[in-house]
Amino acid sequence: MFRIVERQRVNPEVNRFVIEASIIAQKREPGQFVVFRLHEKGERIPITIADADAQAGTITVYVQELGKTTFEMGRMNAGDEIADVIGPLGNPTPIEKLDGEVFAIAGGVGSAEVLPIARKHKEAGNKVIAILGYRSKDIVILEEEFRSFADEVYVTTDDGSYGREGFVTTELADHLEKGRPIAEIIAVGPAIMMKAVCDLTRHYNIKTMVSLNSIMIDATGMCGVCRVEVGGETRYACVHGPEFDGHKVNFDLLLKRLASFKEEEKISLERYQAAVGDEHTPWGAQDA
């Protein structure tokens, strides 16, 4: 059992959790994730480790309520226990001093996934520019954290309620046009957003890494559900990734595979909501 030490609602759809998981806290590196199983009847879901405190033996995660499991997790509180926390999984992001700027691009809860990577790039001596995109003002998260270390931070909202109106690509396009010395881009967010970023940067031939959020079960290479096509080859996001060269990723396939269990997921969520008597409907930020 893994105890939740802290739970905080950071916006209407995202909760921040601090969870006791001492070995993982000591071992984890930016880019890695854990798999949760909330209880005996739960499913296994992957969530990125946003931060960790090795001394306290805790990890911090940001979880967006999308369906049954994340919705249920959002109703757990400090003191509650999670049956299983497995990790750290996936390959750490390779980070070194680069010749040029690093653009960290995040969409929604992807900010939590990009944060530890961007921070480590800064620590490695790189100039870090963050572009954070959200649907609207009330779901902006982690802006302050990025501002505390990044060299430049740009915020966009789809509806223009905060920062610049538009998508992360609206902002990125300007920087690309200006011909900034970009060494590398790391983009994490909904698959559709990562695809848009890659479509844009492809013309500029700028290395663009993405972190793929495919469906996973064991996340150790055993089941193969997370398979994605990269450069025409089948790769497993859990053991070969989760980061890949975005210009080689078959996003259309990823999007389709993410929708594999759409109907079942709907049944599951509605059934749960009816049981807990909660009217909350998730925001529809789902990939497909």
Partner: protein
């Protein structure tokens, strides 16, 4: 007195029509009466071949005689001397190719149902509400890490714990048992049986560390830094193979591992009571002819598929699955298609598989495996509508541990190189056994490898000699 006129006793089973609507065990097991009657058939050979046929050399005639006498407790104790998982082996061992094939009776009659008797005594103990916890030697103070809780790892852990060593069993998944819990379905091997064997292990002092992925949570070298003096790798062959044909990544094309893990470990057959979903649709095809394929195809029927097909590229004769499971599948209405191979899958706009293109085969000359090689018949392609495809053509070695363990040699297929007699790998203090060394094999062979490794590890721990 042995009586060869008694026919081999049939195992009562759930009726096919009923059993395809539930996940309860198909074979119901012998009653005490049936077991004793079957045991009486054993002629107590002076030179019992059956013992040699069993990879862990259970003293079969003696245990059978005890069953015939009705002393089930002693019969179980006899089996436990060499096999700690009788409830598992009695159910899933390919007895027809191991202990039973060499039974003298099979020359003129049918062999003694050794596996069924083994299962009976294991189940008897459960029914009696007993649990025979083996005695343990005084502590030696040595610490051992066992990675992977499949039959190989469980055997090593038990043997070393009984010798007084402090054993920690590391398992990546949230439940111990390996393939026994995530692969083999409930209707063939109830999970409660596996859970019970693991409970006995804990009772003799083995520490179970679940949710611990060696190679990620800690590497093998880090385990040594943590104070473990020896390490056994029983990782299994848990990396699904695909055929690399067009359309294999379409939605609705599952690896057998994914399909069976959803069903067994995650209980998707109880969705939405359990959170993990599965979708089967009306027509399921399973590619392959082994036990894994049989388990997947029979699960499909239980999940409501109207038609469940096996697509196998050779003929029935070459199918590697156990006869009993092929027969069970036939009785349940599985449709067998031989001498066929898929060449591509075709999807709809949503990226979901809707058709498979199949190519007819004929049998040519025998290949390296001694089986006649399937040869494609040119121009014989045709299409079939499908809702779900399960690819059950085998598993390879997962690279997580080898790639994070310097000094650990693997062969060209990624399996760990280990001495057949001792299980020693190329890295000092590290042993390996089971499917990760041999490639996909059987439960009892993994246990046999575990036993040999435990012996060698004990020697190393007590003498310090590698």
């Amino acid at each position: 007195m042995p009586d060869t006129k008694i026919p081999r006793q049939a195992m009562p089973k759930q009726r096919p029509k009923e059993r395809i609507r539930n996940f309860n065990e198909v074979a119901l097991g012998f009653s005490a009466e049936l077991a004793q009657k079957e045991a009486e058939r054993c002629i107590q050979c002076k030179k019992p071949f059956c013992i040699e046929g069993c990879p862990v050399e259970i003293d079969i005639p003696v245990f059978i005689e005890l069953v015939a006498e009705g002393d089930f407790e002693s019969a179980l104790a006899k089996i436990r001397e060499t096999n700690l998982l009788p409830g598992v082996c009695g159910r899933v061992c390919p007895q027809e190719e191991q202990c039973e094939i060499v039974c003298v009776l099979s020359k003129r009659f049918e062999p003694v149902a050794i596996g069924r008797l083994e299962r009976f005594v294991a189940d008897w103990e459960i029914r009696e509400g007993k649990m025979d916890v083996p005695s343990v030697a005084p502590s030696t103070g040595h610490k051992v890490a066992v990675v992977g809780s499949g039959p190989g790892g469980l055997t090593v852990a038990a043997d070393l714990a009984r010798l007084g060593h402090k054993v920690t069993l590391f398992e990546a998944l949230h439940k111990p048992g390996g393939v026994l819990v995530y692969g083999i379905p409930e209707f063939r091997l109830p999970k409660a049986i596996v859970a019970r064997e693991c409970e006995i292990l804990e009772k003799i002092g083995v520490e179970l560390k679940l949710d611990f992925v060696v190679g990620r949570t800690a590497t093998v070298d880090e385990l040594f830094e943590m104070g473990y003096e020896a390490c056994f790798l029983g990782l299994g062959a848990g990396l699904p193979w695909f055929m690399n044909i067009p359309g294999e990544n379409l939605v609705g094309v599952y690896s057998a591992n994914e399909y069976l893990t959803r069903i067994n470990l995650m209980k998707a057959y109880l969705f939405p009571e359990y959170d993990t979903p599965i979708r089967v649709g009306e027509r399921v095809i399973v590619i392959g002819g082994g036990n894994v394929a049989m388990d997947a195809v029979r699960s499909s029927l239980r999940l409501g598929a109207k038609e469940a097909h096996i697509i196998y590229r050779r003929s029935r004769k070459e199918m590697p699955a156990r006869d009993e499971e092929i027969e069970n599948a036939e009785d349940e209405g599985v449709i067998f298609n031989f001498l066929l191979n898929p060449v591509r899958y075709i999807g709809n706009e949503a990226g979901r598989v809707k058709q498979v293109e199949l190519l007819k085969m004929e049998l040519g000359e025998p290949d390296a495996s001694g089986r006649r090689r399937p040869v494609p018949i040119e121009g014989s392609e045709y299409k079939m509508d499908v809702d779900t495809v399960v690819v059950a053509i085998g598993n390879g070695a997962n690279p997580l541990v080898p790639s994070s363990t310097p000094g650990l040699e693997t062969n060209k297929w990624g399996y760990i190189v280990a001495d057949a007699e001792t299980g020693k790998t190329t890295k000092k203090g590290v042993w390996a056994g089971g499917d990760i060394v041999t490639g996909a094999a059987t439960v009892i062979l993994a246990m046999g490898a575990g036993r040999k490794a435990a012996r060698s590890m004990h020697e190393y721990l007590t003498t310090g000699e590698w």
